[in-house]
Amino acid sequence: MKLSALHQSYINRRTNSFRSSGPLDSSSDSAIKSPAAIFWLVFHALCCLISLLLGYRFSRLVFFFLFSTSSTNFYTSPFRSTAELVKTLDVHSVLSNNPVANLDLPLLNKTVTNSRVVVGRHGIRIRPWPHPDPVEVMKAHRIIEIVQKEQRSQFGIKNPRTVIVVTPTYVRTFQALHLTGVMHSLMLVPYDLVWIVVEAGGVSNETASLIAKSGLKTIHVGFNQRMPNSWEERHKLESKMRLRALRIIREKKLDGIVMFADDSNMHSMELFDEIQNVKWFGAVSVGILTHSVNTDEMADRKKDEEENPRMPVQGPACNASDMLAGWHTFNTLPFAGKSAVYIDDRATVLPRKLEWSGFVLNSRLLWKDSSDKPKWIKDIDMLNGDIESPLGLVNDPSVVEPLGNCGRQVLLWWLRVEARADSKFPPKWIIDPPLEITVPSKRTPWPDAPPELPANEKPAMGMQDPIVKHSTKRTSRSKHRSKRKHEPKTDTQVSTRHSEQS
C-alpha cells in the first residue's frame, strides 16, 4: 500500500539525513502492477514533484483531505478555534489508535480512560495581535520589583540604617556638574537617606533649586564665609563646614551612618551597601584621580614608578590577619612644587593626607549624652581649632574598622576639577536674557543649514528652553543681520526682534 511507503520515510528521522519527498524505491517491491497500483504510483510521483517544487509534503496534504474524518484548521489557526488539527498517515492505525476515536468528542472532555492529548499534527496557535500588551508589561515590571525587594530583604543587609550624607558646596560653574552627579548617586541608594548640604557663602537659590530636584530629605545650611581661592584655604574651610554639619547631626540627634560625599567625588553603589557594616568608625579606600597636565611630568613619574610602583589609593592598610596595620596615602612628592595653588590653576590638584570622604562614622558617636559611646571619641564641642580629617576625632586611631574587604575594594573616587576663576555661567543654567557673547558665523548663510522658516524664530527667542535652541538662534540671528540688507521680506521679523532685544 502506498501509504505505508510514505510512513517508512519516518524511520530516517533521527539520523539527520536530508529527507527526500518520498522513497521512490518502495515501488520496486510490488510484483504485479495492477492499474490501481500504477495509478497510485503515478499520483504519488506527481505529488512528490509538486512537493519538490513547493517545498513541503504535498502528498500528505492530499491524503489528509481524502481520509481525515474531522474538521481541520491547520497552521496559524485563529485564537478562538477549538478544533485541534489531527492528522494521521497510516490508515489502519487510525482504527487501532485509541485517542483518534475521540475526534468526535469535544476536546475539553477529560474522561479517565481516554486521553485528551492526541498524537499528531497540531495547529500553532497565534493570537490576533502577537505583540506585547502594555498593561501586562507594567504588571510584569511590578512583579519584578516586588521580587527584587524581597531578594534584597533576604540576602542584602538586614536592618539597614539611615545614611546621613554630608556635602560641602558653593556656587560656581562646575557646581551643577558635580552636585548633579552626587545627587543622582544618592537618589539610587536603596536605604533611607538624609542629605546635609552645607553651602559656603550662605544659602543660595542656585543650590536650593538644584537639590530640590532630588526628592530626597535634605537639610540645606549656609556657612557665612565665602569660599577662598586657594586649595589650601578651601580644604580648611570645607573641614569647618563638615564640622558644622556634624554639629547639626548632634543637635537633631539624627540616627544612622554619617558619610562625607564631596560634591566632585564619584561614589559606587556598593559603597552604600558596605558602609552599613560599620559599627562605630570605619574607613574605606578612596581612589585618587589626579590629572597631570604637562607631559614632562609623565617622564618624571615613570622614573619614580620603576623604583616604587604607586597606587592612587588612600585608605586603610591591613596586615595578614585582616587587622588595621596602617594607612595607604597618596604619594605627593613627585608633584612637590608643581601642584595647583589656586583653584583655577592648570596644575595637578593634590588631595590631603587622608580625605574626609574615606571615613564613615556612626552618628551616635556625635551625640552628647549617649551612654554606649566608646571612650576613644572626642566630643566635637571640645575640639581646639579644626581637624584635618576625621581621625582627629579619635584618641586611638587603631579602633578604626577597615571596610570594603579590609580596604582592598576601592568604593569611591576623589577628583577635583574646577573652572577658571573668571568663568561665568547662566544662573540656574537658564539662558535669560540672551547671552552677551555672540560669535558671528564665518560665512552667512551656513552652507549646510536647512532653509530657515521665518515662523520658527519668534518662539525660539521668547521661550526659556535654552540649550538646543541656542545654536540655531545664533545662526539665524547672524543670518538675519546680513539678510536684513538684502531681503526686505524679513522686515516683519526683524522688527519684532528689535522689540525683544531692547
Binding site: 519516518y10 528521522r13 533521527r14 539520523t15 539527520n16 529527507r19 513541503y56 509534503r57 491547520f74 497552521y75 496559524t76 485564537f79 488539527l85 492505525s93 487501532s96 489508535n97 485509541n98 479517565v112 480512560t113 481516554n114 486521553s115 485528551r116 492529548v117 498524537v119 499528531g120 499534527r121 497540531h122 495547529g123 500553532i124 496557535r125 497565534i126 493570537r127 502577537p130 505583540h131 506585547p132 500588551d133 501586562e136 508589561v137 504588571k139 510584569a140 511590578r142 512583579i143 519584578i144 516586588i146 521580587v147 527584587q148 524581597e150 531578594q151 534584597r152 533576604q154 540576602f155 542584602g156
Partner: protein, 414 residues
C-alpha cells in the same frame, strides 16, 4: 505561689527562645509538607532491601567502556543508580530476604556520533537479560517480575523508541509489563505510563550546576527565560508535530516581547541567566519531560510547565502545583496574561519553596550520594509500594506474561 509563677515564666521564656531559634534558622525557605508529610526527608535505609543481580559485564560495564559519554548525558541515571545501589546499605546480598530486585542493564548507552541514543537494540538486550535472570535465579519466575524494578530513562520509558506514535504502537515491552519501571517519562492516561511506575527527573550534572552559582543577592531581572528549539527543522520541517505546536506557538506569540527572553541560541551563561530569571519555561519537546525542570528547581527559577497531562518526577512526594505554574497548551497565546495575573504573594511563596535545599537535592543525582537526593527518593517510592500484595506471587506453573509478544525484530537474540 511565687515559685509556680517563676516556673511558668521560665517555661514561656524557654519556649519563646526555642521558637525564635528555629524561626531564625530558615527565614527564607518554606518546608514542603506534601500530602504525606515531610516525605522528601524520609530515610529509606531499613525500610526496604534491594538485591542487585550480577549480570555479565556485556550488559553494563562493557557498554560503558565503549562509550563513556553515557555518564554525562541526560539518561545517565541508569548507570548512577547501579553504582549507588552497589554501595548503599539497602543492598542485600541475600536474595531470599530482598523486597526488590534490580537488574543493571544500561539500555540507553548506544549512542550516535552526536550523542543521541539509538534504542533499537534495547528491547533485545532487555529480553536477553531477563532470559538470563529467569534461568539463573528463581526470583523472576516467582512473580514474573512484579517485584523487580528497572531504570528506563529513555524518551518514552520502556517503549525504547523516540517516536511517540511508534512507541504507542509497540506498547511497553511485554516482559516488563509486571515490573516496576523507574522512568523519566510521565503523562497521565498514556499507554506509556504504567500504573505504579516511578517518575524520576532526568540526569543533570550536579557539579557543573554548583560551580556556576552566582551570589543570591543578584537581583532577578529577567521575567521569563527559555533557551532551546522552537521548531525541529530536521525532523518536523512544517511544524505542528514537534511539541504539539506549543513551542512554535510560544515563539510566534512572544518573540517580540521584551519580557520574554527566549531564543534558540546556546549561551555560555545559561546557568547564570537562569538564576537571574523569575520564570523559566519548561515546555514539552518530543517527550513531555526535559532537564529544564531540574535546572529551574536548582537555580530557584519558577518552572512554567507547558505539557498537558504530564506527570512530574516524584509526584506523590512533591506538591508540584504549589511550586510550579501549569499552563495548558491551548492557553499558550495568553501566557503573559497568566503569568502577570499570579498574585505576588503566591510568587514569593513559590520562590521560598524552591529555595528549600531539600527540594533541590531531591532533583539531583550527586556523587557521592547525599541524604534526600533523587536516589533516596526512588528508594522511598519503592518503599512506599511495600509490602507486595499477595497476588504478586504466582502459583507454581502459572504464567501470565507472553514471551513471544512484540515485533519479530525484538525476539532476535542479542
Amino acid at each position: 505561689m511565687r515559685k509556680c509563677l517563676w516556673l511558668w515564666g521560665l517555661l514561656f521564656f524557654a519556649l519563646g527562645f526555642a521558637w525564635s531559634i528555629t524561626a531564625e534558622r530558615n527565614p527564607c525557605t518554606e518546608r514542603i509538607s506534601g500530602s504525606a508529610g515531610d516525605v522528601l526527608e524520609d530515610d529509606p535505609v531499613g525500610r526496604l532491601k534491594v538485591y542487585v543481580y550480577e549480570l555479565p559485564s556485556k550488559y553494563n560495564k562493557k557498554i560503558l567502556q565503549k562509550d563513556p559519554r553515557c555518564l554525562s548525558h541526560m539518561f545517565a541515571a541508569e548507570i548512577f543508580m547501579h553504582r549507588f545501589l552497589l554501595s548503599s546499605p539497602v543492598q542485600t546480598l541475600n536474595p531470599e530476604g530482598a523486597d526488590w530486585f534490580y537488574t543493571p542493564i544500561y539500555a540507553t548507552c548506544d549512542l550516535t556520533p552526536t550523542g543521541l541514543p539509538l534504542p533499537f537494540k534495547s528491547p533485545r538486550m532487555v529480553r536477553s537479560a531477563i532470559q538470563l535472570i529467569s534461568s539463573s535465579w528463581p526470583y523472576w519466575n516467582r512473580t514474573e517480575g512484579a517485584d523487580h524494578f528497572f531504570v528506563v530513562p529513555h524518551d518514552f520509558g520502556a517503549y525504547f523508541h523516540y517516536q511517540e506514535e511508534k512507541a504507542i504502537e509497540r506498547g511497553i515491552l511485554p516482559i516488563l509489563r509486571r515490573a516496576t519501571l523507574v522512568q523519566t517519562f510521565g503523562q497521565r492516561n498514556h499507554v506509556c505510563l504504567n500504573e505504579g511506575s516511578i517518575t524520576i527527573p532526568p540526569y543533570a550534572p550536579p557539579q557543573k550546576m554548583r560551580a556556576r552559582q552566582i551570589p543570591p543577592d543578584t537581583p532577578r531581572s529577567i521575567f521569563v527565560y527559555f533557551r532551546g528549539l522552537f521548531c525541529d527543522v530536521n525532523n518536523d520541517p512544517e511544524g505542528g508535530y514537534y511539541a504539539r505546536g506549543a513551542r512554535a506557538a510560544v515563539w510566534e506569540n512572544f518573540k517580540s516581547n521584551p519580557l520574554f527572553d527566549i531564543s534558540t541560541e546556546h549561551p555560555t551563561t545559561y546557568y547564570e541567566d537562569m538564576q537571574r530569571a523569575i520564570f523559566c519555561l519548561c515546555p514539552l519537546g518530543w517527550a513531555p519531560w526535559s532537564p529544564r525542570l531540574v535546572e529551574a528547581i536548582v537555580f530557584g527559577c519558577i518552572p512554567v510547565i507547558i505539557a498537558d497531562d504530564t506527570v512530574l518526577p516524584f509526584a506523590d512526594a512533591i506538591p508540584w502545583e504549589e511550586i510550579g505554574v501549569f499552563v495548558a497548551e491551548e492557553d499558550v497565546p495568553k501566557l503573559d496574561k497568566i503569568l502577570t495575573s499570579i498574585p505576588s504573594h503566591v510568587i514569593l511563596r513559590k520562590q521560598r519553596l524552591l529555595a528549600n535545599p531539600s527540594m533541590k537535592r531531591a532533583m539531583l543525582f550527586p556523587q557521592p550520594t547525599l541524604p534526600g537526593d533523587a536516589f533516596h527518593q526512588i528508594l522511598n517510592g519503592l518503599a512506599r509500594k511495600l509490602p507486595h500484595p499477595k497476588s504478586v506471587y504466582l502459583k507454581p506453573g502459572e504464567k501470565i506474561l507472553n514471551w513471544t509478544a512484540g515485533p519479530i525484530t525484538d525476539l532476535k537474540p542479542w
